[in-house]
């Protein structure tokens, strides 16, 4: 185990997989000479050279398509979106090509590609650079979608994504790049896609959250402990395929659920999680599932408005109290 940042863990995952498999290459804007806009690819050009660390012109659709074409004939590209917001420019390539080529070809072609980069709300980057992007991808059959919350998960899940034979949308958290945590050194360490993890054991209520919201939930849980409410926290880690059994297991234990998500809520991750809990564990619920979501607005620039847009620890605490019928609410 070594203590490292989330960013360093991602870098290590890339490095190990580039060493392990000649077919793996990294392609995107500023990934090489510039060492990565967010420094996730720092030092890779130096170690692996320009053949495998490929700087591209600004052409997201074009270079994503290059990755998909290369993957169709057996390479394993890791496509970096400088920020995941730019993936919308390549949405057709991801949704209509990467996700569907296996199906449309009757299984003749698979697309072992990872499309990765930072997403989620950031700090005063305003509407076009600060938003939850996973919602545009987890609806699509043929894609896998990952949102890692810790340095160890960032490494283990990215390695699994690169080794996966299918297209994986891997959205890192821009605000978590600097957080530190213990990360296994073992180059064979991976975390399987599709496995949720219980981040905190509790008895009274289950909070489901990932990336930034996970940390707000953990803070809320500490504070609620003092009020006598024991909160269990489940981090799905992979949003598609979703580890439904782990979530349902926690619901059966606590009988109360809050889903926290940074996105705008309508038809969001919380809607889906709430739906399958209702379908599969309705009789276990002692209260309706509560969703804590971002405000139904684009991301504003002003600091105070930005704070109001994204769910806070306090909002999660209030929702937990409501489902527990605590404090008279």
């Amino acid at each position: 185990m070594a203590v490292m940042t989330y960013r360093e863990a991602l870098n290590q995952a890339l490095r190990e997989e580039l060493r392990r498999d000649e077919r793996v290459f990294v392609i995107g804007e500023e990934v090489g000479l510039y060492d990565g806009a967010y420094k996730v690819t720092q030092g890779l050009l130096k170690e692996f050279g320009a053949k495998r660390i490929v700087d591209t012109p600004i052409a997201e659709s074009g270079f994503t398509g290059v990755g998909i074409g290369a993957a169709m004939v057996g390479l394993r590209p890791v496509v970096e979106m400088m920020t995941f917001n730019f993936a919308l420019v390549a949405l057709d390539q991801i949704v209509n090509a990467a996700a569907k080529l296996s199906y449309m070809s009757g299984g003749q072609f698979n697309v072992p590609i990872v499309i990765r980069g930072p997403g989620g709300p950031a700090h005063q980057l305003a509407a076009q650079h600060s938003q939850s992007m996973e919602v545009y991808f987890y609806h699509v059959p043929g894609l896998k979608v990952v949102r890692p919350s810790t340095p160890a998960d960032a490494k283990g899940l990215l390695k699994s994504a690169i080794r996966d034979d299918n297209p994986v949308v891997f959205i890192e958290s821009e605000t978590l790049y600097g957080i530190k945590g213990e990360v296994p050194d073992d180059p064979d360490f991976t975390i399987p896609l599709g496995q949720a993890v219980v981040r905190r054991e509790g008895r009274d209520v289950t909070v489901i959250a990932y990336t930034g919201m996970l940390y707000r939930a953990l803070e809320a849980a500490e504070a609620l402990e003092k009020e006598g409410i024991s909160v269990e926290i489940v981090d799905p880690r992979t949003l598609r395929p979703m580890d439904v059994p782990t979530i349902i297991g926690s619901v059966r234990k606590t009988h109360r659920v809050v889903v926290a998500e940074a996105g705008a809520g309508f038809a969001g991750m919380g809607s889906e999680i709430s739906a399958f809990i209702t379908e599969q564990a309705f009789d276990d619920l002692d209260a309706p599932v509560e969703r804590v979501t971002g405000a139904n607005a684009p991301m504003p620039y002003a600091k105070n408005l930005e704070r109001a847009k994204t769910p806070s620890k306090e909002k999660i605490m209030a929702a937990v109290r409501r489902v527990c019928y605590a404090n008279g609410s």
Partner: protein, 334 residues
């Protein structure tokens, strides 16, 4: 006045084997699509069906200079490219019928033909979106140090799309062995070239990306062969990509849902273009040059008709895909 030499003036020495191959391939594509149109009218084929009748010389000529291990990728008007690349007409027709023995198990249909064993990479129905994929295949060829190439077919309708420009820029910048072949049939669905493009001499756009580019008579299968052969040679040598513009014409509508094709072009124009029928022209040349005899041509015709009849019978006899297949092939299992 000194007569300038042009293609037609060169004594047409055509190898009989080549003549047989090119003519039978073009006739196969034509016959296959005529039968597909009949099946569509009978309700045996559904959805969209885009025919390339009139454009056969481009598919047959271009693919005839490839090696079997080279790749081809195309649009939703791709029956001809797929057949020319060597796919079994029976499995292609079964795919059009949506049957289990189709190339894609009936899951792709006319617009999504794929044949991995023959290096045919689809079958893509978002206009322009497969050009970056072709560049990606070129990238992989170069990455592995192979001397393969990929030919990428697309229509004039793809040229105003951003991905055309992104793909050409990247292919030229990185020297990827891609031969971009624009099948310019003058209409993007119902929009005439001059209503869609500021530069209607499409091949010239290659100059903006500093890649070799030339136009070619897309109704002359030998001319197509020559220009593609040169491009393939360049690509094999050092990865140089090319933009080729094959000037052709589709005799039918955009799809079976545009049977008259009369709103955007005149009857006179279509009749005039039919005089350039690539099959009629090449047959005449092959006969004239002595490469083929009338009886050779009759034999070829018979053999092609039999092949297509067999394909139709096979497709008709192939069962529908089982319902369990709805949920297979979405992900590759480890």
């Amino acid at each position: 006045m000194a007569k300038t030499l042009n293609h037609q003036d060169v004594a047409p020495v055509i190898e009989p084997a080549l003549a047989r191959k090119l003519l039978s391939q073009m006739m196969l594509i034509r016959r296959f699509e005529e039968k597909a149109a009949e099946a569509y009218a009978l309700g045996k084929i559904g959805g969209f069906l885009h025919l390339s009748i009139g454009e056969e010389a481009v598919a047959a000529g271009a693919i005839s200079v490839l090696r079997p291990d080279d790749y081809a990728i195309s649009t939703y008007r791709e029956h001809g490219h797929c057949l020319a690349k060597g796919s079994d007409p029976k499995r292609v027709m079964a795919e059009l019928y949506g049957r289990r023995d189709g190339l894609s198990k009936g899951k792709g249909g006319s617009m999504h033909l794929f044949d991995k064993t023959h290096g045919f990479l689809g079958g893509h129905a978002i206009v322009g979106a497969h050009l970056p994929l072709a560049a990606g295949v070129g990238f992989a060829i170069k990455y592995r140090g192979e001397d393969r190439v990929i030919v990428c077919f697309f229509g004039d309708g793809a040229v105003p799309q951003g991905e055309f420009h992104e793909a050409l820029n990247i292919a030229s910048l990185w020297k990827l062995p891609v031969i971009f072949i624009c099948e310019n049939n003058r209409y993007a669905m119902g929009t005439a070239l001059e209503r869609a493009l500021a530069e209607t001499e499409i091949y010239k756009l290659g100059r903006s990306y500093r890649m070799p580019c030339e136009p070619v008579d897309g109704m002359d299968v030998l001319a197509v062969r020559d220009v593609v052969a040169r491009a393939v040679e360049r690509a094999r040598a050092d990865g140089t990509p090319s933009l080729l513009e094959a000037r052709t014409y589709r005799f039918r509508g955009h799809s079976m849902r545009d049977p008259a094709a009369a709103v955007y072009r005149t009857k006179e124009e279509v009749e005039r273009e039919r005089l350039r029928d690539p099959i009629v022209l090449f047959r005449a040349r092959a006969l004239e040059s002595g490469a083929l005899t009338e009886s050779d041509v009759a034999d070829l015709e018979k053999s092609v008709n039999d092949t297509v009849d067999e394909a139709v019978a096979f497709a008709d006899g192939s069962p529908e895909p089982p319902e369990e297949w709805l949920l297979t092939d979405i992900y590759k299992k480890d």
